[in-house]
């Protein structure tokens, strides 16, 4: 195992944790009143939270939520964004202008502001959280795909396919999509790191998963409250979150260098 690939190992570990939490009931909501805010021990590696719940299984449950949201939102937004970007870049003209105007509007809302607003009005809960993140995170894929398609349109193999009478759909799927894969993969990786943060930001504000179910953002908020008397709580959650985001970001850098995609 080379140090170079630590990001892959960290990511794999969290995915394993999420899978474990999905198939085995680790009782993350089990309350032990004698152990309220108890420090970490060998039996309970990360200690207990303010309600006397073991932090370790809750971290795994939080990882499950986080990775589930990220996977679902990425699949949906990438599909939608890529389709939109392809249509925009391929047809050009007023179609392109209108669609890009719409993406400009979404880009005018900085960061996760729009997601916060939508999650707030839609109401708390997992499905609304996913919906809010979907509404706001397809734009990057659309812009990237459109930019790539604009230049791919001029490539000889695309023109050859066109003159041989290939349908638009065939050109898009068979002749353009494979060449888009590398930059889109890099974009998706960075976007996933952003989604991990976005999901926990919304939960931190009380907009995501509701109690008693575990989510990293909500755990962090509770942890901050007991920061002075039980720093292990906030540290356990914060470092977990940081390790996941760091791993995904580094993986993105590695992929970008390996696939030779210009940032």
């Amino acid at each position: 195992m080379r140090l170079k690939y630590w990001s892959v190992w960290v990511l794999a570990l969290w995915m394993l944790a999420a899978i474990l939490a999905s198939f085995v009931d680790l009782q993350p909501n089990q309350i032990h009143l004698d152990f309220i805010l108890a420090r970490p021990s060998f039996a309970h590696l990360f200690g207990f939270d303010d309600l006397g719940r073991d932090i370790f299984p809750r971290l795994l449950a939080g990882a499950k939520v986080s990775l589930f949201v990220v996977a679902l939102v990425t699949t949906m937004t990438a599909t939608f964004g890529i389709m939109l970007g392809m249509v925009s870049g391929f047809y050009g003209g007023w179609v392109d202008r209108t669609l890009m105007q719409i993406t400009d509007v979404f880009l005018a809302f900085p960061g996760i502001l729009l997601a916060i607003a939508f999650a707030a009005v839609l109401g708390a809960g997992l499905s609304n959280l996913i919906l809010a993140l979907c509404i706001t995170s397809w734009v990057g894929y659309a812009r990237l795909t459109r930019a790539q398609v604009l230049s791919l349109r001029q490539r000889q193999h695309v023109m050859a396919a066109k003159s041989l009478g290939a349908s638009t759909l065939r050109i898009m799927v068979k002749h353009m999509l494979p060449l888009l894969a590398a930059p889109l993969l890099v974009e998706a990786t960075y976007s996933m790191a952003g989604l991990v943060i976005a999901e926990s930001s919304l939960s931190f504000l009380g907009l995501g998963i509701q109690a008693p179910d575990a989510s990293w953002g909500a755990m962090l908020r509770d942890g901050v409250r007991y920061m002075l008397i039980a720093p292990h709580y906030v540290l356990a959650v914060g470092l977990s979150l940081m390790s996941l985001v760091l791993a995904v970001n580094v993986l993105g850098d590695r992929l970008r260098d390996y696939l030779d995609v210009r940032g």
């Binding site: 502001l113 908020r221 002075l228 970001n249």
Partner: protein, 303 residues
Amino acid sequence: MIKRFIGIVPVLFGVVLLTFLLVHSVPGDPVEVMLGESASSADRMQLRADLGLDQPIYVQFGVYLNKLAHGDLGVSIHSKKPIVDLLAERLPATAKLALLALSFAILIGLPLGVVAALKVNQWPDKLANFISLSISAMPHFWMGPMLMMVFALWLGLLPVSGMDRSVAIILPALTLGFGLAAILTRMTRASMLEVLHEDFVRTARAKGLAERSVVLRHVLRAALLPIVTVLGLQLGSLLAGTVITETIFSWDGIGRLLVESIEKRDYPVTQACVLVVALVYVMVNLATDIIYIKIDPRVRFAS
């Protein structure tokens, strides 16, 4: 430049439309959600009429646009005060925080990026890369409490939160600034590396200029151009970050107003906060573009 001004009109219209639709995406009856089940039917009728919800949606949007053009953002359901007044109260605090955070980011990120570029692939570069990567992985709601823990609780140097003392701004500003500093470090490094290989840098060295002068007056000056543009875009994450940072540090700005309005289901206020932040962001980006045109002679003469 005039084209750029006209270009933002549809964007502004879209932003207004989207924030308008925000309140309409409340599932079920917005009035019910905002007032709760215990409200009297007279109160409900009143709010429905106040919000114009008894009108068709396009009429509502027309009314909303008209009011907006007259600087009227409606009235807070909770405090009954005009929202414009609420925003005016809170805006200076956020502006102060954002500006100080930006200054911190520049003071930290720029020198770090310059050093990293000059010592590329040596230990200072690797250290700067490690620091900026680690900071990039720290969301504001993790960075904030950490700074609070170290500087306020353990060392007792700075106040934990609030706005009573003037030094209280330092921790929230650092929380916001560090993230931007990390991005700025990477950008400065990349931009410097590109310029370092230019012919005019070799000429400057060949003239026998001191290395310090070559770096500061020739390389950095040319490298700053792309940095300015990206900095404008990155200010967005800083603005969005004020929502969580202000909440953590009890800093009474727009961000905290937004969170409070969400908690009280005071959606007209939520809507106004989102709109104002988006408008500020659009203006900042417009200003960045104009600055870019002003400081880059190539762009200036080409257009």
